[in-house]
Each structure stands twice: as structure tokens, then as C-alpha cells.
Amino acid sequence: MKIVVLVKEVPDSYGERKLNLTTGLADREASEKVLDEITGRAVEAAVSYAESADEVEIALLSMGPESAESTLRKTLAMGGDSAHHVVDEALLGADLTLTAQVLAAAVQKIGFDLVIAGDASSDGAGGLLPAMVAEQLGVAHATSLDSLQISAEAVTGERAGYGGTVSVQAQLPAVVSVTERLPDPRFPGFKGIMQAKKKPLETYSLADLGVDASADVPRSIMLSVSQTPARTAGEKITDEGDAGKRLAEYLIEKKVV
């Protein structure tokens, strides 16, 4: 079985994250780039399945700038057999439709039985890509799974639905995405880091994938970007036995209760 994990690099949310106010794109200099925590969990799901089953091959795939290569290497140290990096100038500022098209083309090229992604990127891209990739590939999706069981033929899991919890099953090939409810990613050990250096890492351009970024199809474009004024601290008191009363008065005065 071949599993492709969609790995994303994001600005570190512990640092300051900025958008360039002219281009509207993420300001690369402003913050460290890190492996998105949720895609770490997606890798973990694949690696732990590979440990329990025979002949599981894991390919890690990322579309992103040059820097994504080091994130892919770090991810290889957690497990996985190969890494695949789509990098192309023309992808700067790619919208979701183009990103999905590119990732699906790369997944096709790599070959897959199962694609595992995170449910939503922490840089706020919105949790649409996994199902978009599934539609591009013409396979079933099972997204935002809070639990995941993989077998040679199918995946099963549970996810939140309207008014309850839904159990789902998808025959392979399929695309799944996982939530924070899945186990934490492992820390790569020294052995993993050494092994990762020898694993293959392939890069692809848009031409390699046969995708035309300038095709005349509807795209989403950013019209404007502005910085929201930072929130400032208001009144701060130390409880001297009457803070509950004072808070009640504040809330009543502000007419919020």
C-alpha cells in the first residue's frame, strides 16, 4: 500500500506572523517556518500504520517555497520513505484551486492508495484542500476524522456531524484528513535524523506536473490587506475581596449583562 501524506510548512504561531501589506502574501522574513502541527499528526498516523502492517510505503508531499525542503527533511526523520517537493516561482500566491490541482497532479505522479492530510492549516487557509484533492483525483474523502483506522482495503473513522458523531468508512483509494484528536507526532530520534539524510527527496516544477498556473480559469485574488489595530489592555485590578462585585458593576454599567 502506498500512502501519500500532505505536509505543510507554516509560519510559527508562537512568533509574530505578518502579511506583506503590499502583496498580501505571508511575510517570509517575519517568522520562523515550522512543520504545521496538524500535518505532523498526519505523518504520525501513516508511520504508525506502516509499523503495524507489511509493505506500506510512505511518500511525503509538500508544495511550498525553497524552505519547505528542510521541513520535509525533518518530517522524513519521523518516518516515511521518500519526500516530494513541488516548488515553482509561478506558485507564489497560488489560490486554493491551483494548489489542489498541483497537489493532485503530484499525488497522481507519485501513485497512491491513500492520501492523509491535516484537517486545516494553522495559517488559516481554511480546511478545503483535502476534499478538493479528492475531487480532483476522483476518489472518496473522509475529512476531519477524530479517529482513524487503516486497513489494506479501507479506512474508517469518526467525525463530528450536525447534532452528533458520524462513523464513516471509505474504500481505498481515498483521501482522509485528521484532527488534533489524533496522537501527537513523535520526536525524530538521532537514528531517524541520520536515516532521513539518505532518503530520496525529489523536486517538481509545474512543467513536470503538466500544470499551467496561468490558465484562464477563475482564480481567487486578494483585493486588499490591512493590519488590524492591536488590542490594548484596559483596566486591571487586583482582587482585594471585592473584585466579583466590581466586575458585576462593570458589566452592568457596560450593559453586557
Binding site: 481554511g126 447534532g163 464513516v168 477563475p218 490587506v225
Partner: protein, 325 residues
């Protein structure tokens, strides 16, 4: 020019009621054009749901009734929206930015080769057409996006749009359930949420009370519940509180949980990590109670109390109750 159609996917609960996000979705749609609802409901539930959609502003409703509980994931709703798309040639499609809504938007966008706007917090129209408003990096930035051409498919953040549409008497058009056009996962089971809480939904509540790790235990978290009930508020939690098992994951507020923008947000025993702030800093008024004067939550709180939540909150509840009488 005739008003443009705006399709709105309106999820229906097992009880037959519309989900809470319906009012905001139709309110947003009315800002752009004529709201056209798409409903997939259980057998016998459809007409009532369609009337409810009309009360919230749907001028037209495309209705599919299922005989059984749905057995395939996303497909029934996706095919209903796709059929309504064919029939109405919409200028925009609005779905809730929840799991099912995102799946529908994603597949529809690829199928129709349309631009998508994810996690919009508002919509408006300019000279060129539909514009979606976004709040990025935990609301540090505001951006606007639009399609180069064609319709825009928008997932709308729940609770973000306050505008409400005028009630309408909807024209109801019945659609037969269509065969799925894409491969789909099957639904093998459904467990209805048991603790159907009487509290307002976290996403749309005017007041939210959230508890953090500082409440110390599941029992301690009861303090946040008591305050929520005293204020008629929705209940939230930090990730640390969720991870410790004080509250279910569905209550997590923050970057990887729910984003809320209530009139009043009260944080009890929450340090205010950036990832938590990302989900609540657009609240109109923020109140924080924390023992640690250095806690970052105080940097964004309009009213901060350095103190023990277990001493401050009971007095707060008592005072508010006394005033109410």
C-alpha cells in the same frame, strides 16, 4: 439588472431544525442578492425546514427529502447544491465553515472550476461583483478576496455575520435525490449528542464564558459552567482544559478550535497563549480572571482581575443575581 441568485446550503439537524448558522448565512446572502436555500432533510421534515428558512430570509428553497438517514458522506448535500447551481446560475454560494460545509464547497469548486473564499467573516459587493472579507492570523490582519471571474464559493465563519434578512414566503422546489457523481465514503453509524445542552451555541452566543487549565479539574471547570448559566452564556474552553479532559473538544476556542466574536468573552484561568487569542480576540469586550499578573491574557483584556477565579466568580454570580431581582 435582476437581482443575482445566491445559493445558501442550510444544514438540517436530525430533529428537523435548521442549524444555528442558518440566520447568519441567509443574512449574508441577502447582502449580495436573492437568497436561495438548499435543504436536504429527513422524510416529512422538509416543508417545516423550508418555512423556517423562509422566516430567515430564503426567497426560494430547493428541497430534497431523504427516505432514510443519509448513507453516503457529503454526496446528498453536494448533489443537491450542484443541482440548484444548474437551475439558478448563482453569482455566489454560501456554506457554513463547518466540516460538512467545507466538503461541499471544496468538491463544488473543483467540479465547477470556481474560485473559493475560505473562512470569510463578511461579504459585500463592489462594482465588479462579490467580495469576501477575511480575518487572518487570529485577526491581526484583514483581507478581501474576489474571483477573477465566475461565481464565488464562500465558506462563512459561524457567528461572524450579524446582518439578518427579512422574512420571506419561500417558493419551494422539490428535487429528487440525485445519484452521487463522485466516489463517496459511506456512513456506517450516527450517535446523536446526548448532552443536548440548554446553553446557547458557543459560535453564536452573545456572551461566552471559557475555562482553562487554571480551573484545575473537571469539577473545577464546573465554575465556568455555573457562570455561563448565570449569564445565559455559551461555554468554551482552552486547549489545555480540553486536553486535560475538563471539557469536550467541541468547546475548544482558538487557532485550532472555534473562532468566536461575542459581545462579551470571560476567560477564567486561561493564560492567553497566542493560539487561544487567535480564536477570541475579536470579542467586543474581554474580561479575564487569572492569578498570575503577568498572564498574556491581560494584554488584551478590557477588564482584568488578578485573583483566584474560585473566589471572584461566586461573588460575581451572587451580585448579578441580586441585581436581577
Amino acid at each position: 439588472m435582476a437581482e443575482q441568485n445566491v445559493l445558501v446550503f442550510l444544514p438540517v439537524l436530525p430533529s428537523g431544525e435548521l442549524v444555528g448558522s442558518a440566520a447568519g448565512l441567509l443574512g449574508a446572502a441577502a447582502q449580495l442578492g436573492t437568497p436561495v436555500g438548499v435543504l436536504v432533510a429527513g422524510a416529512g421534515q422538509g416543508q417545516a425546514a423550508a418555512q423556517a428558512a423562509g422566516e430567515l430570509g430564503a426567497a426560494k428553497v430547493y428541497l430534497t427529502e431523504n427516505d432514510d438517514a443519509p448513507t453516503t458522506l457529503t454526496a446528498p448535500a453536494l448533489e443537491a447544491v450542484a443541482a440548484a447551481w444548474e437551475a439558478t446560475d448563482p453569482e455566489a454560494v454560501l456554506v457554513p465553515n463547518d466540516i460538512d460545509g467545507r466538503d461541499i464547497a471544496a468538491r463544488l469548486a473543483v467540479r465547477t472550476s470556481s474560485a473559493v473564499a475560505a473562512d470569510a467573516v463578511g461579504v459585500h459587493r463592489d462594482a465588479e461583483g462579490v467580495v469576501a472579507e477575511h480575518s487572518v492570523y487570529g485577526s491581526a490582519f484583514t483581507t478581501e478576496s474576489a474571483p477573477t471571474h465566475g461565481a464565488l464559493i464562500i465558506t462563512l465563519r459561524e457567528g461572524a455575520v450579524e446582518a439578518r434578512a427579512e422574512a420571506a414566503q419561500p417558493e419551494v422546489i422539490t428535487l429528487d435525490a440525485a445519484q452521487p457523481k463522485s466516489a463517496a465514503a459511506v456512513i456506517t453509524g450516527f450517535a446523536e449528542n446526548v448532552e443536548a445542552s440548554s446553553r446557547p451555541d458557543l459560535r453564536s452566543a452573545k456572551i461566552v464564558v471559557s475555562g482553562g487549565r487554571g480551573l484545575g479539574s473537571k469539577e473545577g471547570f464546573g465554575l465556568a459552567e455555573q457562570l455561563a448559566d448565570a449569564l445565559g452564556a455559551g461555554l468554551g474552553a482552552s486547549r489545555a482544559a480540553v486536553d486535560a479532559g475538563y471539557a469536550p473538544y467541541s468547546l475548544q476556542v482558538g487557532q485550532t478550535g472555534v473562532s468566536v466574536a461575542p459581545d462579551l468573552y470571560i476567560a477564567l484561568g486561561i493564560s492567553g497563549a497566542v493560539q487561544h487569542q487567535a480564536g477570541m480576540q475579536t470579542a467586543k469586550t474581554i474580561v479575564a480572571i487569572n492569578k498570575d499578573p503577568e498572564a498574556p491574557i491581560f494584554d488584551i483584556a478590557d477588564f482584568g482581575i488578578v485573583g483566584d477565579a474560585f473566589e471572584v466568580v461566586p461573588q460575581l454570580i451572587e451580585t448579578i443575581k441580586a441585581k436581577a431581582q
